[in-house]
């Protein structure tokens, strides 16, 4: 049976007490107030009665507050947390209260709520699985593109980008979701192209495929790279502003090569004019005046000899340039020689040829498709001509080429036979052998092998310029995509902006100590981007800083950063500049942000940047939201709001925890009607 709620008993008891008090008071007053004259003293009766009444009420209220009102308030706070951000929250109620079964009932309700929420999440996850698969597939496809792909809204803010873009703008902090495309590349070419597209659309709603896009060239701002770009409008969705997709490819390298070659060709051709003129004048002179004096004649002859030599020299260089041009036109790329041979071996197996590979793991720079056909063709021809069923390909590194040496038991193939192969096709509808050879600036020849009884056929292929180059930096985090939600037009005043539309950078520093005024310095600075209710994991800022001073042992024990670890790191000026570019006009958020901001402000002058961004403090926000508790350390808040603690006491780890906390605080603020940045800053300052 359910126990009768305690407050009813309290009420009955309270009332009874009150009646008794009143009765007692009446009797007491009556006894006291009878004056010697035997007449009641009315004034005294009222005074005493009032005092006793007030005392009774105060006691009653204190009891009610302790046993009912405060527990109710705490219960309410708990319900808010459970409903909004942390379903696993454990209610923190005083031991004695008169709420009877209410807390238990609420806890049961929250357990049931947690269970229902989990079940729903599971059901949703199961249903969303397929969708997620497709999304992952799409992400994978977009990330495997060599071209950079950026989707922007009507104000050129980035809604999406793929891995190629991250590689292109590696180490450029201005790349980020919600940031402007114009922080990355020149504005004019993009705007002009967009204007052309809009104009076309006005002129003719039904555009041809070709008309839907514009090609152009533009440069990147930080890297100074030259991009081949293509812009295309995306189909307009109902109730959404228009958006466009921007694809780009870095052609700086090719352009460099081509540009230099153009210059060399022009200069070579112009250098040939003078010797040709001299040659022609002298030859004509000799021809026109057969009777020239021997001395003059010999001068003319001298000129002819000299100028011919100069011409030959220029001609040689010109010929060299032209050869390079031939091989640069095709779809050449870096290919691993082992992969090529393995592919060929697989195909040859079905045709009864055993092809094995030895030699160094080498990279070639070649048109892989035609080279593959050629490799297969040559193996088959060797088998046919020499009857060799087992062939070994050995790869060797020459001066500028990688040699594919076919080795087999038997004798070398005469040049006259190889000459005949040249005009044959390497595959159905493919190229002739000589075309593929020409394309790679190559040739084939056959010799007896150093081991007697064996022969080789050598095919040189251009070596990759990056044979032992350092591999490109691996970017561990895959970019996270913005769902293509509408971005609200920005309010003119930042403080008027809705909290859920803003970009936040939640940041943290690790330092050598607590007082920047006494020379303590930042050793690590991290930032996490929060946007539209989520953390953008692909855009985390995390840099160590050389503090240019010793790091006290007690602080090393705290954050684990030693002098050895930071001695090659950039100084604070450089890191702050890069952080400034990363932050843009986002709102800064920190736990006890004033502490970190003090360190940053001290270095603004040195860095030559100033952070004018609004700052929010998670500590103050937590104090405002949960004034029922004195616990507002990062760990306490994390536990209260159900944030898992990982990587504590690193700038990156603490930023991530603070960001998770901030997301939950943001939700609670919105629930309480704190919906704009201005209001949030106001309560943060209280």
């Amino acid at each position: 049976m359910t126990r009768q709620p305690g407050y009813r008993r309290l009420l009955w008891g309270g009332s009874l007490l009150y009646v008794l008090l009143l009765g007692g008071t009446g009797i007491l007053v009556h006894l006291l107030s009878v004056s010697p004259e035997g007449r009641p003293d009315i004034l005294l009766i009222f005074a005493v009665a009032a005092c006793i009444n007030v005392a009774a009420l105060v006691i009653l209220f204190a009891v009610l507050h302790r046993l009912i009102f405060r527990p109710l308030y705490l219960l309410n706070q708990g319900v808010e947390i459970v409903a909004g951000v942390n379903s696993a929250y454990e209610f923190d109620l005083p031991r004695h209260h008169l709420l009877g079964n209410l807390p238990k009932a609420v806890e049961n309700l929250s357990t049931a709520f947690l269970k229902a929420k989990r079940e729903m999440a599971e059901a949703l996850a199961a249903g969303a699985g397929e969708m997620e698969d497709r999304k992952t597939q799409l992400e994978t496809v977009l990330n495997s593109l060599r071209e950079g792909v950026i989707v922007c809204d009507d104000r050129a803010r980035i809604l999406f980008y793929n891995s190629a873009v991250r590689r292109l703008f590696y180490d450029n902090e201005a790349l980020g979701l919600g940031r402007s495309l114009y922080l990355l590349c020149a504005r004019d070419p993009v705007e002009n192209s967009l204007a052309i597209l809009r104009q076309r659309k006005i002129r003719n709603e039904e555009m041809t495929e070709e008309e839907k896009g514009v090609r152009f060239v533009c440069t990147t701002i930080k890297e100074g790279a030259l991009l081949h770009c293509h812009i295309r409008m995306l189909p307009v969705m109902p109730a959404r502003p228009w958006s466009f997709v921007f694809t780009c490819e870095d052609v700086s390298h090719q352009v460099d090569i081509l540009g230099r070659r153009d210059n060399r060709l022009r200069s070579l051709v112009s250098k040939m004019r003078a010797p040709l003129t001299n040659l022609s004048v002298s030859a004509e002179g000799l021809n026109l005046y057969p009777g020239l004096a021997a001395e003059t004649r010999s001068k003319f002859e001298q000129i002819i000899v000299q100028e011919t030599h100069i011409l030959i020299e220029h001609f040689d260089r010109l010929a060299h340039e032209i050869q390079e041009m031939v091989s640069a036109q095709y779809a050449d790329s870096d290919v691993f020689a082992g992969d090529l041979v393995a592919c060929v071996a697989k195909k040859l197996k079905s045709q009864g040829v055993q092809l094995t590979m030895t030699g160094d793991p080498l990279w070639v720079y070649a048109d892989s498709v035609s080279l593959l056909l050629l490799l297969e063709f040559l193996a088959l021809k060797i088998r046919d001509y020499c009857g060799a069923g087992t062939i070994e390909i050995q790869t060797l590194l020459g001066d500028k080429r990688v040699y594919f040496d076919y080795c087999w038991q038997g004798s070398a193939i005469p040049q006259s036979e190889l000459q005949r192969w040249l005009s044959e096709l390497t595959g159905p509808a493919g190229f002739t052998v000589s075309e593929v050879l020409e394309r790679h600036g190559s040739d084939i020849w056959s010799n007896p092998h150093a081991i007697s009884g064996y022969a080789i056929l050598r095919l040189p292929v251009p070596s990759s310029p990056n044979q032992w180059g350092t591999p490109e930096p691996v970017l561990p985090e895959r970019p996270v995509y913005h769902d293509f939600a509408v971005l609200e037009p920005a309010a003119d005043v930042l403080t008027e902006q809705a909290l859920d539309r803003l970009t936040f950078i939640v940041f943290d520093t690790e330092t050598t100590g607590l007082s920047p005024l006494d020379g303590d310095e930042i050793v690590s600075l991290a930032g996490v981007k929060v946007f539209k209710g989520g953390i953008i994991v692909g855009e985390i800022f995390d840099k160590m800083v050389n503090p240019c001073r010793t790091i006290p042992r007690e602080s090393v024990r705290f954050h684990g950063i030693t002098e050895e670890m930071v001695k090659d790191k950039p100084k604070i000026g450089e890191v702050l500049r890069s952080f400034h570019s990363y932050v843009g006009n986002a709102v800064l958020v920190g736990h006890n942000a004033a502490f970190d901001m003090r360190f940053i402000r001290m270095k603004e002058q040195e860095a030559g940047v100033r952070f004018r961004n609004p700052v929010l403090d998670t500590l103050s926000l937590s104090l405002y939201l949960h004034d029922h508790t004195p616990e507002h350390s990062l760990d306490a808040i994390a536990q209260r709001l159900g944030v898992e603690i990982r990587g504590r006491h690193t700038a990156r780890g603490d930023s991530l925890i603070t960001a998770e906390i901030f997301l939950r605080l943001l939700y609670l603020l919105m629930e309480r009607g704190i919906t704009t940045l201005g209001k949030a800053m106001e309560v943060s300052r209280r």
């Binding site: 040689d316 500028k400 040049q415 000459q419 600036g441 040739d443 020849w445 050598r458």
Partner: protein, 126 residues
């Protein structure tokens, strides 16, 4: 006895010039204009040095070179290859097939004479 040189090239003007120059240097000179004639000439009257053009009708210079090198009795014959293409890979191919030197066209006659004189010294000048 004068050294003997065989000039094998299908370009008559070059043959003319080279023949004149080499004779002028005091060598005994024989000329042919295709690969098969070259092999026959070598068989009949073994030269000390061959100026061998790559692009020739019937048998090309590579083939001639390969045949000469496949016969151990001819291992002492010095082969200088002449080529109009001048690609780097051809030089490599020529040397791989047994040529000793490689000169690309256009060449200066001075260069050829200098090379031959280095290889076959001891000839009295004109």
């Amino acid at each position: 006895m004068a050294h003997r040189i065989l000039i094998a090239d299908d370009e008559p003007n070059i043959v003319l010039a080279l023949e004149y120059l080499m004779k002028n240097e005091g060598y005994e000179v024989q000329t042919v204009t295709d690969g098969e004639d070259a092999l026959r000439a070598i068989e009949k009257n073994r030269p000390d040095l061959i100026l061998l053009d790559i692009m020739m009708p019937n048998l090309d210079g590579y083939e001639v070179c390969q045949r000469i090198r496949s016969d151990p009795s001819m291992k002492d014959i010095v082969i200088i290859m002449l080529t109009a293409k001048g690609r780097e890979v051809e030089r490599e191919k020529g040397l791989a097939l047994g040529a000793d030197f490689y000169i690309s066209k256009p060449f200066s006659t001075r260069e050829v004479v200098k090379k031959v004189r280095e290889i076959l010294p001891g000839n009295p000048g004109p």
